[in-house]
Amino acid sequence: MFEFRWLWENMKGSRRNYIIALCLSVLCNGLYITAPYFQSKIIDNYISGENAIENLKNDRSGLLWLIAGMIGFTFIRTVFQYTCNMYYETASQGMIYKIRTHLFRKVENQDIAFYDRFRTGDLMTRLTGDLDMVRHMVSWVIKGAVESIALFTASMVYFFILDVPTALCILALTPFIFIIRRKLSRYAGPAYRQVRECSSALNTAAQENISGNRVVKAFAREEFEKEKFRKRDEQYRSANIKAAYVWLKYQPFIDVIAGSLSVVLLLVGGIFMIKRHLTMGQYVAISGLLWAVSNPMRSIGNYVNDFHRFVASAGKIIEVYYFAPMIVDREDASEPAERLRGDIEFKNVSFSIEGKKILDNISFDIKAGQTVAIMGATGSGKTSLINLIPRFYDTDEGEVLVDGKNVRLHRLHALRKNISIATQDVLLYSDTIDSNIAFGDTSLDEEYVRKCAELSCASEFIEELPDRYDTIVGERGVGLSGGQKQRISLARALAVRPSVLILDDTTSAVDMETEAVIQKSLAEGLDFDCTKIIIAQRISSTRKADKIIILENGRIADIGTHDELIKRDGYYREIYTLQSGEESERQVSAVGT
């Protein structure tokens, strides 16, 4: 079973504890069988036995010893039991800890394709509910199964020692249990996979409702959302009931067979006793321990059930556990000696996502320290283009060079450390503004955080917040306006002092006055050298660039400076004319700047 090998692999570091726990639990079960010894001895010797009255008169210390033994033995047994349980918990928690940290790193280090494929709610299910199922397997199911087997074997051995024919008759019932177990197995698997799917769908529905709460309210769609959620919840409920019913369909057969043990014993044992093959003492001994055979038989169904739930969940976890990102360090990739300079070159780059051509034969180069603007219609490939530089995607054809070296030959980590992007979709953490700005470099001192905030024109509004830099912003920065979020995101990008700074439409929600200030500080205020790539919609953001690249349907339609491009027909001049309609009205102030 691959799932078990996987568990064993992850138990590294906890294996010793787990094996100790397993041994202890076998031992405890052994102790459990012998537990009634003292009490029956007391009853035999001092209450119901033939010499009870004499014993009580003459051997009181013997009685006290037995009582002390009873208490002491229970105490020792419970101490063992407790120790054993704690070993199980330590081992299973250790293992879960290991799996969880591994999964987290997996989830963090994937390509964009991964995040498109797995929904947040689905990943959450895998790392919560599914993982708990694995824990249940290790700390409960395997434990129970081992104990059951130990108990069953020990008592069967004991029965065989007592009387072979009776023991054989009891054992004869077990094959039936296995037949039913196999049937149950066949149907339980699919049922639990279904439960698993429904649980993930429910999780996704809830998760998106929570994330999208603003849209829900804006459209007054509360009722619709409730309906949508109810449907998923109903599916989840019925899948659960269905799975339980699969189990309930077979469980009675298992229980009846387990219960028949006492019938068999009564009948066979009775006949043997009449035939004087079996003594009363032997009968009582077997009947007193019959539970140790019937209980494991009963619980086998439970274990099968839990096992299938485990398999359904483990499969989901393992999928993520072994999900390998396509974009990884090549063996011959090297770590740059120091900070990259920031030369960037695209050589005949073509790129597609799922067969859809996004970029087609793109070539251009940017010298370190230059500012380059990229413009183009929505969906023309601007964001994809910049995503190739830190290697969030790999090209299909051609190469992307940073400092004259193919990005694939740079160590991924080192490459990305030198590039920072203020992304289009601003995502902040529910943390303080200070930590959000210092996200890329937590060792940053407060002063520098403030400086970055100033450069991105964020300091003013931050100072007005109740706790200033220590104000906690909600997830996705809710509670801040779009422009404010963008400016924090810009400050965050500046704080790492990148060699290449990429601004993906970062000032779209910022008012023009502020934007002008930001541009000025980007041009003059930075205390480090960097190449700047700016995706923008406004001419005001691009006009001072050393180079403007116009993208159209994934191809470069034109390249040039502002002055060159406005002289030619094309997208840029069109936009220029569109926007300079506004500008012509404030020509006065435009002159001379």
Partner: protein, 588 residues
């Protein structure tokens, strides 16, 4: 309450009592018929369980010594019969209770989800979303067994206990008292454990909530992590949260696992006491050996239900930590809700006025002060001004996303706090800064604006905002699956889809909050043309930075310093050479 972070526990102040359990009876009540039926079945099953040993006793005492094969077979058949009946009864009970248990969690989850829909933005803004999610899904799942089987088993064990106690009292009162003397000790030990245990499990629920909140943020923000190569650092933070969780778990099971051994030991001590008292202290003449033998038998059986009860209570305590969280969420007050006697908003014409409106997100910090303005139906209004001045706030107030602290807002003369939220909001079209995309097809994402829209209407709305072009180029056109993170959509494309969604809702008042900021200039110009047609006859509020968008509006309001600094048409404001003029000319 201050905003919550991933690494901060959410404090829970209510002291522990069984009120939470009592309260959960609301959910159980609905199914009490079935629960009682299950209880009756359980009692029947218990009785068959008691009868079975009688058969064995008869066989051993009479049948076998008499060598009566016939009776032996009859007895075996009867035993088999009891066996089958008891299994069948158990099975029926399980079938009933499976459904009841699932229904109970379904009901709780429905209530929780419904309540979440009523909660204001601030609830979502104030805590990591992962913490809300885990309550709706994981916590609710955890309490199902406790509220269904847990309760029945609890009652069963209590009945069992009482039953045996009666038998014990009949046999010998003095020895019964000895057997009962273990109870205070038991209570004492349980009380000591319980106190720590409850706090420990609360801690577990807090730590798991923290861990999952951080996990969720990292799934959503994986790109940002990679951009800033924070993978290792974030993983270490997560490791730390994970470690704390493990520690809290180990602490909690340290207590939980004590319950059973403690009960076991006490039960043994009680039996030992019975032997000592019965055999050595009391006069053997007054205690017959048969009585003593019976008493020790009963004493073991008396402690069995107590041990089971302690296990059930143990389970209750573990899960009550979750139940508390669920009820806490259900108790979060809905601050913005329909007033008593709220009426339907009549069909909106579009006159909007603010009368001395004062508002702040947090007490004492006013974002808007004494704001007043009048907008006539059909006018388009542009809100301009520095970021954070309160433009978005003004438009959120029109939809009553927040309640104002002073003044009033009316639409067509009707105070918006006098009408139902649904009738108000469903007539407004609000396009927010964040364009949220659901995991569904493009078609369904647009249809979200008006659920009964036909496919043609959807396509036509998409055409109006120039989204049709790129949608048609997608793999499955309008049927392409997109997801919450956009799934291959660019920022501009997401905005266009959410724009189409807003238009489709055919609003009487349209609010565009930076609706076109990520859309390229050419597309925007096209969108503007389409919009112009659409805006006719509708009141619209537009927040934008592009002058082409602003210039043509009927009224431009410059928002600054908690209110309107100036307002008028573009030409008026330009002539005034004030703040707007400065803003307009500052660039370049």
């Amino acid at each position: 309450m201050a905003r919550n972070r991933y690494d901060v526990d959410e404090q829970l102040e209510t002291p522990f009592d069984f009120t939470h359990l009592k309260r959960s009876f609301v959910y159980i009540k609905k199914y009490r018929g079935k629960m009682v039926l299950s209880l009756v079945i359980s009692i029947l099953s218990a009785i068959t369980g008691l009868l079975a040993p009688l058969l064995t006793k008869r066989a051993l005492d009479v049948t076998i010594p008499d060598k009566d094969y016939k009776e032996l077979i009859i007895l075996a058949c009867a035993l088999m019969g009891f066996n089958i009946i008891s299994v069948a009864l158990g099975n029926i009970r399980s079938r009933i209770m499976t459904v009841v248990g699932q229904n109970i969690i379904f009901d709780i989850r429905e209530d929780l989800f419904a309540h979440l829909q009523e909660l204001p933005f601030t609830y979502y803004d104030d805590r990591p979303h992962g913490k809300i999610l885990i309550r709706v899904i994981n916590y609710v799942n955890s309490v199902s067994d406790m509220l269904s089987n847990g309760i029945i088993n609890f009652i069963m064990e209590i009945l069992n206990m009482i039953f045996i106690l009666i038998f014990m009292l009949i046999v010998d009162v003095r020895l019964t008292l000895v057997a009962l003397s273990g109870l205070p000790l038991f209570m004492l030990v349980m009380f000591a454990i319980k106190k720590n245990q409850r706090r420990a499990w609360q801690d577990v629920s807090n730590k798991s909530s923290n861990m999952n909140a951080y996990l969720q943020e990292n799934i959503v923000g994986a790109r940002i992590t990679q951009v800033f190569t924070r993978e290792e650092e974030n993983a270490e933070i997560y490791d730390e949260l994970n470690r704390k969780y493990r520690k809290s778990w180990m602490r909690a099971v340290k207590f939980s696992n004590l319950v059973w051994p403690a009960t076991d030991n006490i039960s043994t001590i009680v039996r030992a006491a019975l032997f000592i008292v019965g055999l050595l202290v009391l006069n053997p003449a007054t205690v017959s050996l048969g009585t003593l033998s019976a008493m020790t038998g009963y004493a073991s059986r008396f402690w069995q239900p107590i041990m089971n009860i302690s296990n059930i209570i143990n389970n209750f305590i573990n899960n009550i930590a979750y139940l508390e969280r669920i009820f806490e969420t259900l108790d979060t007050p809905v601050t913005i809700t329909d007033k008593e006697g709220a009426v339907e908003m009549p069909r909106i014409k579009g006159n909007v006025s603010f009368e001395n409106v004062t508002f702040g997100y947090e007490e004492g910090i006013d974002v808007l002060k004494d704001l007043s303005f009048d907008i006539k139906a059909g006018q388009s209004v542009a809100l301009v001004g520095p970021t954070g001045a309160g433009k978005s706030t003004i438009v959120s107030l029109i939809s009553r996303f927040y309640d104002i602290s002073k003044g009033r807002i009316t639409i067509d003369g009707v105070n918006i706090s006098d009408v139902t939220l649904k009738s108000l909001r469903s007539q407004m079209g609000i396009m927010l800064q964040d364009s949220f995309i659901f995991s569904d097809t493009v078609m369904e994402n647009i249809r979200y604006g008006r659920l009964d829209a036909t496919d043609e209407e959807i396509v036509s709305a998409a055409k109006t905002v120039c989204a049709d072009g790129f949608i048609s180029l997608m793999e499955d056109g309008y049927e392409t699956q997109v997801n919450e993170r956009g799934g291959g959509l660019s920022g501009g494309e997401k905005q266009l889809i959410s724009f189409a969604r807003t238009l489709l809702s055919d609003p009487k008042i349209l609010v565009l909050d930076e609706a076109t900021s990520s859309i390229d200039a050419r597309t925007e110009a096209l969108v503007q043309r389409g919009l112009a047609e659409l805006l006719k006859g509708r009141t619209s509020f537009i927040i934008a930075h592009r002058l082409s968008t602003i210039r043509n509006c009927d009224v431009i309001m410059f928002i600054n310093d908690h209110g309107i600094a100036e307002s008028g048409t573009h030409d008026e404001l330009m002539a005034k050479k004030g703040a707007y003029y400065e803003l307009y000319t500052a660039q370049s």
